[in-house]
Amino acid sequence: MTNPSQNRLLWTTVFALPVLFVCLALLQKNIDARTRSASNQQEELLLRSPSVMKKLSLGYDPLLADIYWTRAIQYYGARVGIPGSQFDLLWPLLDFTTTLDPRFLTAYRFGAIFLEEYPPVGAGRSDLAIELVKRGIAANPDEWHLNSDLGFLYYWRLQDYQKSAAAYLEGSKNPKAPPWLKMMAARVASKGGSVETSRMIWSEIYQSTKDSNVRKAALENLRGLKAQDDEAHLDELAENYKSRFGHYPFSTRDLRDAGLLPGIPVDPDGLPYLIGSDGHTRLDPRSTVKIPSVMAIQPR
């Protein structure tokens, strides 16, 4: 049997609690928005040493690895694409993740790509990327994917085709590895730096990963490579045009009208290419396609 004051209290609570929780949820949303939009979002690591963390973890390593991995993703996601972003903590977060769980393969793949990519897509530290992947190979000698990633790193950012081929070759020795690794080794050794080879590598990465971030980066690079290829092709046609008509074409329309092109070529964004007065093809300024900066160094 309950008395009136008990009932009063119960009903007050029953009605007030949902209201209060809704207010709290809204407030929390606000707080989150505010702390995310802070330009220097503070991320602090409690410890600086992953090996100390491993000792302190009391055996909960895999769980902590998950936490650090989640933090790494969140850290990355909050910064990618925002001009002026720095990714100073990406390496330590991945360092922690892989120290606590050396078999965290996704982290190695993620690190390989996003540690070497330049800001605002990544940290721009290919040296750290290589160190990460090498560590991964040491802990997981059976995972040929990691050899392939190492090959990619040497090839793409460092343009060390010898070391890249060696990495692919090493990976191909694994009986489980598909045959294209061997083929890639040969290709890199002989035709390192060509657009075609780069395309093959990024295609492989795109197909073999489920991580949406990695796929996005691969796609961006593939689009850039396509544009690079198109530009090279159009430059040749421009030279051809000049030799015929004595001046460079003003636009791709001229090339079409001259019968050199079946139609108006567009970049992966759907915008037509522009031809400069010096005969060099370039992208429409409105295009979101980005020529990979490494490739820009390549001589024509």
Binding site: M1, T2, N3, P4, S5, Q6
Partner: protein, 319 residues
């Protein structure tokens, strides 16, 4: 006539018991009684009878399964009711890091006195219960008797109209018990109502205007001690001595209790003179002849036994 001081109506309390807490144990069963203003009312019963349960229900420490109660016309749900009542719990325990003075001062603050009045009351009641000299000592160092006194002081320092005491004499030496008795009588003189539970029947007999007897959670009887126990004489008690060498009359042998040369027998009133004649013939020396009246204790044990036999369904040997 104003409302009764205490009015209990059908008060029942069940406790869940058993391993899965599905069975209900009824610790108080449909208690109804009334206490008038200015009465000293005793609440008697063996341990586990439900006395403390009743008091806890009245104080709002536990909640009734059914039934109601009013004190001075106010429901026990009403927090304002507590202004008029004082309560001494059984084997009280107080904040042992406080001194007696601090304890009373703390409790006094719940009544909204001015600082001066509070101070005055605290000192007055410390003095009244005899704690004036030890008021600065922390309660953790208090003896049982001293705690009991502190307990009484906190129960009455706000001059409540109705005072509830749960086993106020327990653990006290004879001096302490007399002091408590005096306080109860003083409260009665002041026109206050005192409701106290006890299993010391002689105290109840001496102090109470009326008593209620609770056994096994059920009310067994309410009335003045005299009402409950008839004035009827149940027999006569003879104390006598037999000189050395003299034998007890054979007809009395089985019924005499003996301690050294002294004997005691009880005989029905009608047989008194016959017994005296027998004893005179035996040259016994009569020490005393007294009528026997049933005491509250007899009544009490009679009830307890009746309850037990009702529970065990065995026959009770009657005298």
């Amino acid at each position: 006539m104003s409302a009764p001081a205490i009015e209990i109506s059908g008060l029942t309390k069940d406790y869940p018991s058993g391993f899965w807490r599905k069975r209900m144990r009824r610790s108080l069963d449909d208690l109804s009684l009334q206490v008038e203003d200015g009465e000293v009312f005793g609440f008697l019963g063996p341990n586990g009878a439900g006395k403390t349960t009743t008091l806890k229900l009245l104080m709002g420490l536990i909640f009734p399964t059914s039934g109601t109660a009013r004190i001075r016309g106010r429901s026990i749900d009403d927090v304002a009711m507590h202004r008029d009542i004082g309560y001494l719990p059984e084997q009280p325990y107080f904040y042992d890091y406080l001194t007696a003075r601090e304890l009373l001062d703390y409790y006094a603050r719940f009544f909204g006195y001015s600082a001066g009045e509070r101070r005055e009351r605290v000192e007055r009641f410390l003095d009244r219960v005899g704690l004036a000299s030890t008021a600065h000592i922390q309660l953790r160092k208090f003896s049982k008797g001293m705690l009991q006194r502190a307990g009484i002081a906190q129960a009455i320092l706000h001059d409540p109209q109705v005072i509830f005491l749960d086993e106020p004499m327990s653990g006290l030496d004879p001096v302490g018990r007399r002091e408590v008795r005096d306080i109860i009588l003083e409260l009665k003189e002041q026109g206050r109502t005192v409701f106290f539970s006890t299993h010391i029947l002689s105290d109840a007999e001496m102090l109470c205007d009326r008593v209620a007897v609770l056994v096994g959670g059920k009310l067994q009887g309410v009335g003045s001690p005299n009402e409950l126990v008839s004035m009827q004489v149940t027999g006569m008690e003879i104390l006598f001595e037999l000189p050395e060498g003299c034998a007890l009359p054979s007809v009395l042998t089985g019924r005499a209790a003996r301690a050294g040369t002294r004997y005691r027998i009880e005989v029905p009133e009608v047989e008194l003179y016959k017994a005296l004649d027998l004893l005179r013939d035996s040259e016994a020396r009569i020490l005393s002849v007294q009528p026997l009246r049933p005491t509250l204790e007899d009544f009490f044990f009679g009830l307890v036994n009746r309850e037990k036999s009702a529970n065990h369904a065995t026959e009770v040997e009657t005298r």
